[in-house]
């Protein structure tokens, strides 16, 4: 299933990388970023103290006043609730506005995914989709499949339209087992 996921992800222009530790994750991000990074608060990323690691790796991390910083930030870093193998899709419960800003405005999106949180396809995701709706009265759920794209000029596929131009999925075992947690 993991192989199907990474293959589908690369078909839609996303990149996957395996990281064993939070240090490796921070180093990967530091190596691919070119400016400030938005890092909204998320349980799995708090647990591994990613912010501190990123700062230690020399990355400038923004953790508040999102609207002010979002437009100028180079990247957003998020966890992933779970992913769909057949299409290479990340599912992010993005009701908190900071999460949406971090995944819409910057050029680059880094997403940390526990490879254990994979479902076969969108049909298998329906119970969780319903679960999200049951857990909270209002929600903004995002299925993200690769970077943003357009083919609106002469039908030529161009990666990177109004949303992120790059999507990096960092596969980190042991990050989280909870499908309802980011």
């Amino acid at each position: 299933m993991l192989k199907r996921f990474t293959e589908a992800l690369s078909k839609v222009g996303g990149q996957a990388a395996e990281v064993a530790t939070v240090g490796e994750a921070a180093a990967y991000i530091a190596g691919h970023v070119n400016g400030t990074v938005l890092l909204p608060s998320q349980p799995s990323l708090e647990r591994i103290a990613l912010a501190a690691e990123l700062e230690a790796a020399g990355v400038k991390v923004v953790r508040e006043s999102w609207r002010e910083h979002a437009a100028a930030a180079n990247a957003g870093v998020t966890g992933v609730n779970f992913a769909l193998a057949d299409t290479g899709t990340l599912v992010l419960e993005s009701t908190a506005e900071a999460l949406r800003l971090a995944t819409t405005l910057p050029e680059v999106h880094f997403a940390l995914l526990d490879p254990g949180k994979l479902l076969a396809d969108s049909l298998a995701a329906i119970p969780y989709l319903r679960g999200f709706h049951e857990r909270a009265p209002r929600n903004y759920l995002a299925y993200i499949t690769g970077p943003s794209r357009t083919a609106d000029i002469e039908r030529v596929l161009t990666i990177g339209a109004h949303g992120p131009r790059q999507l990096h999925v960092l596969l980190m075992p042991g990050l989280s087992t909870d499908f309802y947690e980011l």
């Binding site: 819409t104 943003s148 357009t150």
Partner: protein, 715 residues
């Protein structure tokens, strides 16, 4: 029909036909689309998926009141406001009033066909509110002051140099026409707009009753910004977008991108329920459910299936007429097949009148529709309605009513015409030139002469030597086979006799009625159906065999439909439909007659043209290929073998000869590219068209009916 409307329309057709760059773009897009779509559905059962969508959408139509109530209840419980707008004006007024009340100066929009439908931008701008389209294609269109020419790719008719010129005006410096660069310019230019806008307006692909949420299926990421940054979010959603559950929504999500662009999934699917957080507070979410003709559509038994549409745009992608003239001609706001229908209900029959005639009836759209809509059937019905409302033209009405319905008169007039044409044919089988004002008819294809002796007159002299026949079949010849190509009938007898089948020719058979029906004269079509049923069933044949798939479709489908409410005739129509079969299928599927034609040496390099009504009407395409290959022909496939040849009966004579000519030229190019010396097909109409084109262009390829080639192989 209003003259001014017609003149204006003709001008637009001419303009489009004079834009080879547009045609080229739409053709290559259509080619790439077919491949991408096929890959996207690999391993999936498209038929089963679309039937599921169709059935689900029918439930939605039936239960729409309950579902609207359920949706509203759930959405409002989540802090949204729901407004059901009966008309476009009501929707526009609600949204502009809201914007004015909130002091909104600027609105950021993501793509919404519903807002195109209601002309929302115009309404907002009249109220002094600036609108900013943020979808790349929509922005281009907005800058150019045009309307979308495709539902999924609004600016598909524009080219990079035109886009660069538009963008240069915005930025005030010369922008290069590199596409990557242009996309970047748009990204940068539109950025500030999301922050400045006091209101974001989106559409929705699904409105889910179970949750009261909406879902957006998008690629560029602008819809996520439009629904996140501004304080107020308005979603303008057509009522047909309702689905009962998350399962149903997921099914739509699985089929929509695959069928729209050949993507497994778009970059983003965004599920929004209720007033979500926005800056320091909560967003204000308004959902406007738009009726604007949808309830009327739901009440029309003949047209209501159109409400199943999920707006994937596929019916345009594969349509030969769309590929030839584009969406600004073959469309109003909504384009192509579905556009014809929705225009009639959302924007008035008047605006659909020309579009209804512009469809050539090839059913390519029906084959790819993910919602299982018989688009062509509905367009045909609209043509009937228009025929009743506006009339079908005095000349046509006269011919259908007073001549065609009277078989003896009709047939004696054809015989008379055969004599009259003598001076122009000079004894040849085709007409290359006609005098004076008729001459345009033979400008781009030769036309066959009416035979000196129709098939019906020489039938008695045809020897039939079948002892203990396996079957007795009645031959329904159709007008072309009977009066223009009688030799095809001789060949049919020869081949079927050889296979142990006796062939009868019921003399009382008349035109199958398609010309009348397709012109909107239902009454004549009914009269002809009754005549033909009586004639064809009289001798109690085992089968009724045809050489023309349009006749087959008429006998099998149209007669049933025309007579379904008539207790006397409905049953007989069913009987006839059950035994009607086209000749290639009869030979392969019933007689298992392939082996009879077996041949070791290669006879000829043949390519096969799939007639629209044979492949997509009767589902026959393998059988003739098997017969050709089995009888020693080297069968080579042409590109687009199942693309229409542009005949379409009166379409290529009177209604749209200019478009028909372009479609024919595409076909001739595809045939030539195979290097075959013969193109085979199973339809006398296609033969008339394709042979005419090949002859006019002096190509050395012959066009033959499969039955003729089989007869040759028995010689």
């Amino acid at each position: 029909m209003s003259r001014a409307r017609n003149r204006n329309y003709r001008q637009r057709v001419d303009q489009a036909l004079a834009s080879p760059r547009l045609q080229q773009a739409l053709h290559s897009f259509g080619d790439a689309y077919v491949v991408a779509r096929e890959n996207a559905f690999a391993g999936l059962d498209f038929e089963a998926m679309r039937q599921e969508i169709g059935a689900m959408k029918d439930r939605v139509r039936e239960q729409r009141q309950e579902l609207v109530a359920e949706f509203t209840r759930n959405a409002e419980a989540a802090g949204a406001k729901v407004f059901v707008a009966r008309t476009a004006e009501e929707a526009n007024r609600y949204i502009t009033d809201l914007a004015v009340a909130q002091g909104v100066k600027k609105v950021a929009k993501s793509k919404s066909m519903a807002s195109e439908e209601t002309h929302l931008n115009r309404a907002l701008e009249t109220a002094g509110i600036e609108t900013l389209e943020t979808d790349l294609g929509e922005w281009i269109i907005q800058l150019a002051g045009q309307r979308p020419s495709h539902m999924v790719m609004p600016a598909i008719h524009m080219f990079r140099d035109e886009v660069a010129a538009l963008f240069s005006k915005v930025t005030g410096k010369a922008e290069s026409d590199d596409i990557q660069h242009l996309v970047r310019v748009a990204r940068e230019q539109l950025r500030q707009g999301y922050f400045e806008a006091g209101m974001g307006i989106s559409g929705a692909n699904m409105a889910i009753a179970e949750t009261g949420g909406i879902a957006l299926v998008t690629n560029e990421g602008n819809a996520r910004l439009v629904t996140t940054l501004p304080k107020v979010h308005v979603a303008l959603v057509g009522l047909e977008k309702l689905v009962p559950t998350l399962e149903d929504a997921t099914k739509v999500m699985r089929i929509l991108p695959r069928n729209a662009t050949g993507q497994l999934l778009t970059s983003y699917v965004t599920w929004i329920r209720g007033a979500v957080p926005c800056a320091d507070g909560d967003k204000e979410l308004h959902i406007v459910l738009l009726d604007n003709g949808r309830s009327a559509l739901a009440e029309s038994p003949q047209c209501r299936d159109a409400l199943r549409c999920i707006k994937c745009g596929a019916c345009a992608n594969v349509c030969p007429v769309y590929q030839t003239v584009g969406g600004h001609v073959f469309g109003h706001i909504y384009i192509s097949a579905i556009g014809v229908i929705l225009t009639a209900f959302f924007h008035g029959l008047e605006n659909a009148a020309d579009l209804v005639q512009a469809c050539i009836g090839c059913r390519a759209c029906v084959a790819v529709c993910p919602s299982d809509i018989d688009l062509e059937g509905i367009i045909l019905h609209l043509r009937e309605v228009l025929g009743e409302e506006e009339g079908i033209g005095v000349g046509k009405a006269l011919v259908f009513k007073h001549i065609m319905r009277n078989r003896k008169l009709f047939h004696s007039m054809i015989r008379a015409a055969s004599l009259l044409q003598k001076p122009v044919t000079r004894g040849e089988r085709s007409i290359r030139h006609l005098p004076l004002f008729f001459s345009s008819l033979t400008e781009w294809r030769t036309l066959p002469a009416i035979a000196e002796k129709p098939l019906r007159d020489s039938w008695k002299t045809l020897p039939q030597k079948v002892e203990n026949p396996r079957y007795r079949v009645a031959f329904f010849a159709g007008c072309l086979n009977d009066f223009v190509y009688p030799e095809m009938g001789y060949d049919l007898v020869k081949v079927l006799n050889h296979l142990g089948v006796e062939v009868l020719f019921p003399k009382e058979q008349n035109c199958c009625g398609v010309p009348a029906l397709y012109s909107g004269d239902r009454e004549t079509a009914v009269a002809l159906a009754e005549q033909n049923i009586t004639a064809m069933l009289a001798d109690q044949p085992d089968f009724v065999v045809t050489t023309c798939p349009t006749c087959t479709m008429s006998l099998q489908r149209d007669f049933l439909e025309l007579l379904k409410d008539n207790p006397v005739w409905a049953d007989k129509a069913r009987q006839l439909a059950a035994i009607t079969i086209d000749v290639s299928r009869f030979i392969v599927d019933v007689l298992d007659g392939r082996a009879v034609f077996a041949e070791e040496s290669v006879r000829e390099k043949v390519t096969y043209h799939d007639s629209c009504h044979l492949k997509r009407g009767a589902g026959v395409w393998k059988q003739p290929r098997e017969l050709l290959a089995g009888s020693g022909h080297a069968v080579v496939e042409m590109a687009h073998s199942d693309r229409c040849c542009g005949f379409g009966g009166s379409y290529s004579f009177s209604s749209h000869p200019d478009i028909a000519k372009h479609i024919l030229n595409d076909k001739v190019l595809d045939i030539e590219a195979t290097g075959a010396t013969c193109v085979a097909m199973d339809c006398p109409g296609c033969i008339m068209q394709i042979r005419g084109g090949l002859e006019k262009q002096e190509k050395s390829v012959r066009a033959k009916h499969t039955i003729e080639l089989l007869a040759e192989s028995l010689e």
